[in-house]
Symmetry: C2
Subunit: 334 residues, 2 copies
């Protein structure tokens, strides 16, 4: 298996990405291609005392930045590191792409260079949130606008993912909404609710509200990318805030008595909410694995994203989605 | 000053509302009219050993339930306790309404019976969230769909509220979005961003993401009611979840050593995230104060909502909004 890593485009220096790749190569059974500024890549490998022979290196020094127009990945930045990584996988030179760059560009590039699975209208960004139970939030940022039919397809993609990759039987699918009742939400959400309730191959359990999300409410949350991104970031901010409040309270009280033990346990909890631990978010619906690592990824986060890419390839989830989509198409054709 | 309290329509029994009114009457300088099932109201007052003479009682036993169509407040439920309370204020028989009932119905009833301030297109539900700094989230549930012009007006309403009621000079207004850059979000949000940036009388500071909300990012957050409601409930659920995790960790470790002190401090923190402490959310833009108490309000939450209604009347914020809206209209007419 070969993972293609875009070492540019994240908030941090490319050297963090190279260091993450070195860590991943030691831990996981995967070959890695490093795509980016070759000089920088070789410098970092040398400083790490790692032989450049251990990696394939593809020189692509141009970078699409966070503030760049995502469409530029098909135009002025069509040879940037991200585009190059995607084209390598599209051309069969690798099994999965990992990038921490511009999410919109990765979505447009992924859809443009790699294409959706036959029958899938839109790919979407799917993040696992490890709260009361691990649940999949989808879309969490690729499609700011959706149609009810997209949401139904997200429900199917998410179900297959949770079943295959997370081993959850008959995953509970819920629609994010501003109330429990079927008539809640915008006209788009009301229509999606009706369509989801009529689907036979998914276990649709109705609407879910933000306040229930952390308490084992469901296994897949379906929503538009605007709302999903807001949920993701609100969970991130709120958990960070509450933890800060708590640790400041306990800092003063406990002092040296139970200090070490408390700090250790608190760190474990912090890890649970740390986006860097999630590994990254796959674009479900694409015909090859594309993993979006957190923009702020450091070496450890990069390593975790590569771990997820390896797992994604190994589970055969894309074949499972393709089979299910083809079956559905056949049924509808009858 | 007279506050009109709808004692029906919340999740809890009307007796909780009557008990909340009894507590509020003792603490705040306000007369209270209790609207609902007169038999139940008199029974509760008797059981509390409170004279029925201390309150005005209006018999309106019909109730609009959480699952009822909000529009029914203008049709089959036009004489329910909520509608009756709104009509009393509209007719000058009181200064503010407090209700814990169906949010949609309170919005439609408020707009229908009490009307918006002249020049205001849409009222919106505004909640103060007391995190790193107290900030106003608006709309948080009344208008699932909005136009860019509504969002601009919400920005004005929220600014005046934070200045008048919370004493914040030149409040920082931000647009909720899925990224910091001006081009982020749906077409509606992009357009709203442009309009807000061009407004002279508000201190627009750009987009805000969910992860920044708890960290003193701004004073007013403007958004559609669907997204706002989701943010509100996601903050509620996440903070409850993280606190639960923390208290379970510390329970075991600390035992009896620092127990009492820790529990006391943790409770103080919990209070901070407790919706019942907020008091309630005003519908900004209506020509009289209408305060939405939390659906799950108990007596204490009812008391706090009445406290907020009293404060709302006293600050004269509605007159300030009316003046500002009229000035704006004049300017535009020139």
């Amino acid at each position: 298996m070969r993972i293609i890593l875009d070492v540019m485009g994240g908030d941090k220096d490319p050297s963090e990405f190279v260091r993450g790749a070195v860590m991943a190569k030691k831990e996981y059974d995967a070959d890695i291609t490093l795509v980016g500024d070759e000089v920088k890549i070789r410098e970092t490998l040398a400083s790490q005392k790692v032989s450049a022979e251990d990696f394939e290196i593809v020189n692509a020094p141009d970078v699409i930045k966070m503030e760049d127009n995502p469409l530029s990945i098909r135009r002025e930045h069509r040879d940037c590191s991200m585009a190059t990584a995607l084209k390598l996988v599209a051309g069969g030179k690798g099994d999965a792409v990992v990038s921490a760059g511009n999410t919109g560009a990765l979505f447009i590039g992924g859809t443009g260079y790699i294409h959706c699975i036959d029958g899938v209208r839109r790919a979407a960004l799917a993040t696992i949130l490890p709260l009361g139970n691990p649940f999949l939030l989808m879309d969490c940022g690729a499609n700011a606008e959706v149609t009810p039919a997209f949401l139904v397809q997200f429900a199917h993609l998410g179900s297959v993912y949770m079943e295959r990759v997370m081993g959850i039987e008959n995953p509970r699918v819920a629609l994010l909404n501003n109330g429990a009742e079927a008539h809640k939400g915008t006209p788009l959400y009301k229509e999606a609710h009706g369509l989801l309730a009529a689907e036979k191959d998914i276990n649709f359990i109705g609407n879910v509200e933000g306040k229930e999300l952390p308490f084992n409410a469901c296994d897949v949350v379906v929503c538009d990318g605007f709302s999903g991104n807001i949920v993701l970031k609100t969970i991130e901010g709120t958990s960070r805030f509450v933890m800060k409040q708590f640790t400041s309270i306990f800092d003063g009280i406990i002092g040296k008595i139970a200090g070490a033990l408390v700090i250790k346990k608190a760190k474990g909890l912090k890890k649970r909410f740390d986006a860097k631990e999630y590994g990254g978010a796959p674009f479900l619906g694409l015909s090859k694995p594309v993993i979006k690592a957190h923009g702020n990824s450091d070496a450890k986060a990069v390593k975790n994203a590569i771990r997820q890419a390896v797992a994604y390839v190994n589970t055969g989830v894309i074949d499972a989605i393709a089979r299910q989509t083809a079956e559905k198409k056949n049924e509808q054709g009858k």
